[in-house]
């Protein structure tokens, strides 16, 4: 083997790697910039120096409350929820080789919402039990979808169709309960419908941060196996991937992550669904999409929340903005599926 050929191969690999790292660096810059902007901008503008002093622990009249108690937890929650949805979403999309297989399309977020709304409005449960119920319901929903669609192995399209059916059922439960609810309960319940950062506080940020600390490394460790699963189950197994265990670990971890994010911020529409494809466009093919998708999710939620708050006359919850962005893409994917004869 001539060493020159190997060098040429290595050069091509490094060049493609450079593009991926460049795009990732760009995404990270984006996260930092939008994060900083959302700390500074509001009814009162605070400059970078004031914001930094608040973060550093100084007491700045006015800014300490507005930035420290309102904007910082809100922006943190936006970053964490966006990253969690992005990471959970791209895990599903990679594993099932289909961008439609996102947890918010196949009903896992709907499971969390339905449980929370029923608990809040029907059983009048309140406090930390609600997120806990939402997490359990999301896991149960994932299990139901998995069992219903498993036959001689797992087929992506079947799981997606079963999931869309389950999502429709659960969404109608949410709609029914909300229609029957008393007006004064609606404010809390609405957050479970579209997702909103309006109630963001440190008590929402902390559990999600902890869940992320546990779940993200588990998912990232599965990254290479998930990439190999893209070649098909048999090809992956032939390369030494333990297909069933990879799938089990990834599903459970991604669902837990999505459920914690949903419990903290509501099912912010289509973030899980959009982040992976956005990341794929930016970083290009051939590498793992997990970290770029997490960063895309963070940018998406941060930006959409800023737009929802300040871009229009009325203030809209973040989920309304992401929903407006995500719905056309969903239609586009469905149309493309139709044309391609069912393959994506």
């Amino acid at each position: 083997m001539s060493p020159r050929t190997a060098t040429a191969i290595a050069r091509g690999r490094r060049r493609r790697g450079l593009r991926r790292r460049g795009a990732s660096a760009l995404l990270l810059t984006g996260v930092v910039i939008v994060f900083a902007v959302s700390l500074m901008v509001g009814h009162t503008f605070y400059g970078p120096s004031e914001v930094l002093r608040v973060i550093g622990g100084d007491t700045v009249p006015g800014a300490s409350f507005t930035v420290g108690e309102l904007r910082l937890p809100r922006a943190m929650l936006a970053v964490l929820a966006g990253a969690a949805f992005g990471l959970g979403g791209v895990t599903f999309q990679t594993m099932l080789r289909n961008p439609l297989a996102s947890p918010d399309v196949i009903g896992i977020s709907s499971g969390a919402s339905a449980a929370a709304v029923v608990a809040l409005l029907v059983f009048e449960v309140d406090g930390p039990q609600v997120p806990l119920l939402a997490i359990l319901a999301a896991l149960a929903t994932a299990l139901v979808i998995y069992v219903l669609s498993f036959k001689d192995g797992l087929v992506g399209t079947r799981l997606i169709l079963v999931g869309i059916g389950v999502a429709a059922m659960l969404d109608s439960v949410v709609a029914y309960v909300i229609v029957r609810a008393a007006v004064w309960d609606l404010q809390t319940a609405m957050r479970w419908l579209t997702g909103s950062l309006n109630a963001a506080g440190w008590e929402q940020v902390l559990p999600l941060a902890l869940a992320g600390l546990v779940a993200a490394p588990v998912l990232l460790a599965q990254g290479r196996n998930l990439d190999l699963l893209q070649h098909g189950d048999d090809a992956a197994a032939a390369l030494g991937v333990r297909v069933e265990s990879t799938r089990f670990i990834s599903i459970v971890t991604a669902v837990v992550l999505i459920a914690f994010a949903t419990a903290a911020a509501g099912p912010i529409a289509f973030v899980a669904f959009l982040s992976g494809p956005i990341a794929a466009r930016l970083v290009g093919p051939g590498g793992s999409l997990m970290v770029p998708a997490a960063m895309s999710g963070a940018v998406l939620v941060l930006t959409a929340d800023l737009a929802g708050q300040f871009a229009f006359d009325a203030r809209y919850p973040v989920g309304v903005i992401t929903g407006v962005l995500g719905a056309p893409y969903l239609v586009y994917l469905l149309v493309r599926t139709q044309r391609a004869g069912g393959s994506l």
């Binding site: 083997m1 060493p3 050929t5 190997a6 060098t7 040429a8 191969i9 290595a10 091509g12 690999r13 493609r16 080789r97 001689d152 460790a221 290479r224 990439d227 190999l228 893209q230 070649h231 098909g232 189950d233 048999d234 090809a235 197994a237 032939a238 390369l239 030494g240 991937v241 333990r242 794929a280 290009g284 093919p285 051939g286």
Partner: protein, 281 residues
Amino acid sequence: MTHAHTLDVRDVTLGYGDRVVVDALDLTVPPGRITVIVGANACGKSTLLRAMARLLTPRSGEVVLDGKDLHRQPTKQIARVLGLLPQSPVAPEGIAVADLVSRGRNPHQGLLSRWTAADDEAVATALRMTNTLDLADRPVDELSGGQRQRAWIALSLAQQTDILLLDEPTTFLDVSHQVDVLDLLTDLNRQRGMTIVMVLHDLNLAARYADHLIAVSAGRLHAAGDPHEVLTSEVVREVFGMDSRVIPDPVSGKPMVLPIGRHHTQPTSIPTNSLSREAVG
């Protein structure tokens, strides 16, 4: 290749749900040779190949690699000895050929180990042997069918296994590319001593390229051995339910099957008996 690895199927029964597809089958893969499995549609040949690659757990019996039950060996360790190219593997959108082939290095890498010069070397060798070096930076989805199949074979080569199983590697290829792929596999066998086992549909190509031919019928091993012994009109009738004439292939001297359909009467110019007797040897 320092020592030849052995692969045996011992009394294996396979099935999906409550359907038995392969029934108490025994076979030995001759090390360092090309083995081709033929049989009618749904006879269990692809199922058998999946079991030989540990992708399907036998209901009973065992597949034995180097004297040890396949299902008692760590899957990554097996992946360093035995490779499989499935019938229709999927390439992620836009992936470059070299990146695809790189993924064949997975069994040689630990969770934290970095990509090394040896990995680059293995990928370059695999690309060179499959004549895909010029395509290294091209996206797989832009390749022609024949080029794509060579890229997938390169992935299996980057895995550096002694045994390679292939499930119908020539499907969807036109005849020149079929011959191209089979020639490539023969090169790998002759030059590197790779043990090759493949399922093929085309009986005549199977006869040409096989050192060892296995005919499977209804989940059972019908005949196995040298193509000259296995491929007779009797076996073709029993395995495929079709009348045929078997004559020596004027190009390779291997047996060649001429199917006899309902609309074809026996030509009188070629004396049937002398030819088929000659083919049987």
